[in-house]
Symmetry: D2
Subunit: 304 residues, 4 copies
């Protein structure tokens, strides 16, 4: 048994030093952060490993976009699965809008009058929808040529051509973006709006399964990163059944396993299904991802 | 201000008496249960109100299926939005299989050897996938004729023709079932399997938006019930923007708003977006749905 | 393996029927509620078993007082360990005051001006402190004769002589009440006030350990009920080390074990310490106690 | 409204840079961490402010001891209120023992046979109690001379004379340590053991209230830091009523306000009681303290 060494905090301390201290401490949340840093560093450095990143939660309004961009630029992600909401928020920012620092105690009736949409403590002016409408109206012919959700969202990224957009960078780096629940988002509403205007366009819902399962199947090893559960996690998990199970896993979530849902399920549960390899290195981090992800990622940057 | 009256528990007490006592108590979780009972009873009795039920979480493996069936039979639900997982588990049981009482402390490696899939503390034999395969192989020609996800899952229900199936009852009662994330499920895998065998079949991902938005738009009033957040909640919420906002709302979830995600967002947040009417009657219940839903529903049964 | 039977909810359903249904369902929160009902019923019916009840959380302002009173009257509790806060709120009500149904969204500055103290969504007029002052001034000579915290709080109960008071009923039924953290409460402030007026009175902090450990030691079997963790749980737990470990355990808490604190620790952790017998029957219920306790207790009433 | 700037993570990044980035991001957990850093830095640098530190949770087994030691050495804490458990674990380590990195999935029956006590995922050999017994037997005459809990625990610190002990440093720096619930701990058991051997010794439970209330009363300003709620938080909170309310507050907890208990109560609730000044600067951080505390404290070190 390793003794617990207490964390020493110093002036001008680097994040990676702090996370290393957490490794020596080794228990509770701190221990999980340190283990996540090790597993993530090993996962992204393993040349044989394809990294599947499942991004749920309000991570773009939550200020996490640049971390995703940095991971893409550094070739740390091979497959991105996310919600329509995160892609919509990425699109909104790429069109020149911002999310704003707000308050969860704001008066929602007042916000409604001011046409400000609240996402817990971040605010978004409702007028962003007008610019989205313009974008989709202007580009719908081009967008309509795509044949899968992946192609469609890549095309959005190509058209935006904005180096601060997740979609643009995924397109440019040929990182597949899977978003099976895309109808459930502002982007979905934009397509619905065009259909309502008479456009005859839709996309096949099952089509992208072929590609994500193929990537899982063909890889020597797979690694999974889950921020917040939901459909992104589960869609990656099901594709893992077509491999020997993921070899690496990092999950950051505030969902707890005790309530039985997929979002909070411990990664080890995946072993029973064959989604996680029984020899895999993995860790569940029970923490707000806007705290844990930057902390873990900053420490990983010093390791790779 | 109303004084808090302490809950009196009696022998042979009815659930509705207990929930009434919770109303007099009126605070914390108990108070929320009582309010949810009142709001739900009013919502389903309001002739002008269309009820949208968003069902996430592992509610079929969690033993909640018959409550949903009862609500359908009693015409309490007008629209069901759910995950592919819940539909898959419904299908599995309709094919004659069971989920089993297991343990979260089970050895997942052993379970994997025994081909038992673990969903927290419920177990499912992996062999159910074989019967699903048979069902889809046998019926795929019929299923392939459908043109939307809603038609597709209704057709599954029609073919199952099992009075204990959510899908069958929704089909028979013409209650639309929307499942935008259907690719993320065992049913999705079945379609993928047929595609891999050369079948040329897929479904349009945006198609069902037309119908759910139309129902929301055309209703005099709308009511929303959310079990567990996720895509079902959000998909209903976005359709509410095309009404005057929902007039009634009951949310049962263990997700907390403080972490910023849509699943845990308080219903009042929807007022800023116009998803919830500012005069709506609504309540957020912070509780495991397998406890709160039967309790609330049993008390509602005595009111209607 | 037992199949999961879905919960059937009926009109005029009894709570005990609902909880029985939860037993057949047997998973997630519902399963834990059902198991807690069984363990509690067996615990309080076992003639050889002494029942230790650890009550933390704002359970008196939360409307749970009458359940505790009923358990005392029915001789279901042998030892009560609680916080100074719960005893203070019991005293306040025994003096004729009420807690009130409030709102967590109230403006705390306004409440402060109105001299209303907020306990999440329950309100308490600050003027109750004046009546407490009067009570302690009037009775301090009598109270000062006590030699232990247990005697002191029993004496409060005797003086109150109010059949709706936990303290009075514990005094009358000779159920020891242990409150090692009594200084941390309104009652503590009352003693401090008398000391500030020159009264030379204090109580020994370790004295009551003798009795709680003796009861644990001398019992053939012990059972533990924990509402909400904190000092009450831990104080009982440590006395269990002087027995063969508790034979029965029911814990109802929203604290999660993953954060490492004693309040959220799973009962099984106690086996390592010898606080819980390795053959004990026990269950952890992850639920708001104002929901779970009435539900469990109402079902137990029909079993005993 | 301030736009949300996304967090940029760089190689060799300092913790203080990361936390500054979180400030620019400004929402959800990250925003709360940044605000806590600002409030804590201002609180400890305000010459007029007395800092009350409430430490609950398993923070010594959790590896947080050296942060507390560093805060004491730097004169950042004026009053420490903690649980008997944390003082016991501090004592155990001062006697030369360690806590060890364990696992929450360990077999508690096996651990019991090996005489290893589990605290979630940290392990403690049960034999530490023998050395505690020796320490208390050897020093009881000296310890018996103390007249208050504060003097008693200071005396333990003096006798230990170990520069790595919280108790020793508090004694040497004359920082009062209040532990009203001391009976609920291994230290309590040691006193009980001596009483069982016939020693006639006890300590007054209310005595220390005079001093903590005096400090609060006499200070120009007060600041409060709460790790994990429980009795330490509440004992400080009640003393704040005898000031103009705390001027600064930082709370780090995984308890949620929605369940109504004092541990999870938002700091703003204290405004209604007069425990928090209505102009106070304060923030609630919803996070595992073993993650949040080192992160916040490391960033504060670069500000002071």
């Amino acid at each position: 048994m390793n003794p617990i060494e207490h964390i020493n905090v110093n002036k001008e301390m680097r994040v990676s030093d702090l996370v290393n201290q957490m490794k020596n401490s080794g228990v509770m949340g701190a221990g999980r952060i340190a283990k996540a840093s090790d597993v993530l560093a090993e996962m992204i450095q393993d040349k044989d490993c394809r990294v599947f990143f499942g991004l749920a939660g309000a991570m773009v309004p939550g200020g996490m976009k640049n971390i995703i961009l940095d991971m893409i630029k550094n070739d740390f992600i091979d497959v991105l699965v996310t919600t329509g909401a995160n892609l919509t928020h990425d699109l909104i920012e790429a069109l020149g809008h911002n999310h704003f620092q707000g308050s969860p105690d704001a008066d929602d009736k007042e916000l409604n009058k001011k046409q400000i949409d609240r996402i817990y403590d971040s605010f978004m002016p409702n007028k962003v929808y007008e610019d989205m409408e313009d974008f989709f109206k202007k580009n719908f012919e081009e967008l309509s040529k795509t044949k899968s959700i992946k192609e469609f969202v890549w095309k959005i990224g190509e058209l935006l051509n904005n180096p601060k957009s997740i979609l643009t960078l995924c397109f440019q780096n040929k990182i597949p973006v899977f978003c099976p629940g895309i109808a459930d988002s502002g982007i979905g509403l934009m397509v619905w709006g065009r259909q309502a205007e008479g456009k005859n366009f839709d996309l096949p819902v099952f089509e992208d399964m072929k590609e994500i399962i193929s990537i899982s199947w063909d890889s020597k090893k797979n690694g999974v990163i889950y921020i917040g559960g939901g459909l992104p996690k589960n869609f990656i998990q099901q594709s893992m059944q077509f491999s020997k199970g993921a070899s690496y896993g990092v999950q950051i979530s505030t969902n707890m396993p005790q309530f039985g849902g997929s979002s909070g399920a411990e990664l080890k549960e995946g072993i029973s299904w064959g989604k996680m390899n029984e020899k895999a290195k993995f860790v569940d981090v029970y923490c707000d991802a806007t705290i844990a992800l930057p902390l873990i990622y900053a420490s990983v940057k010093d390791k790779v």
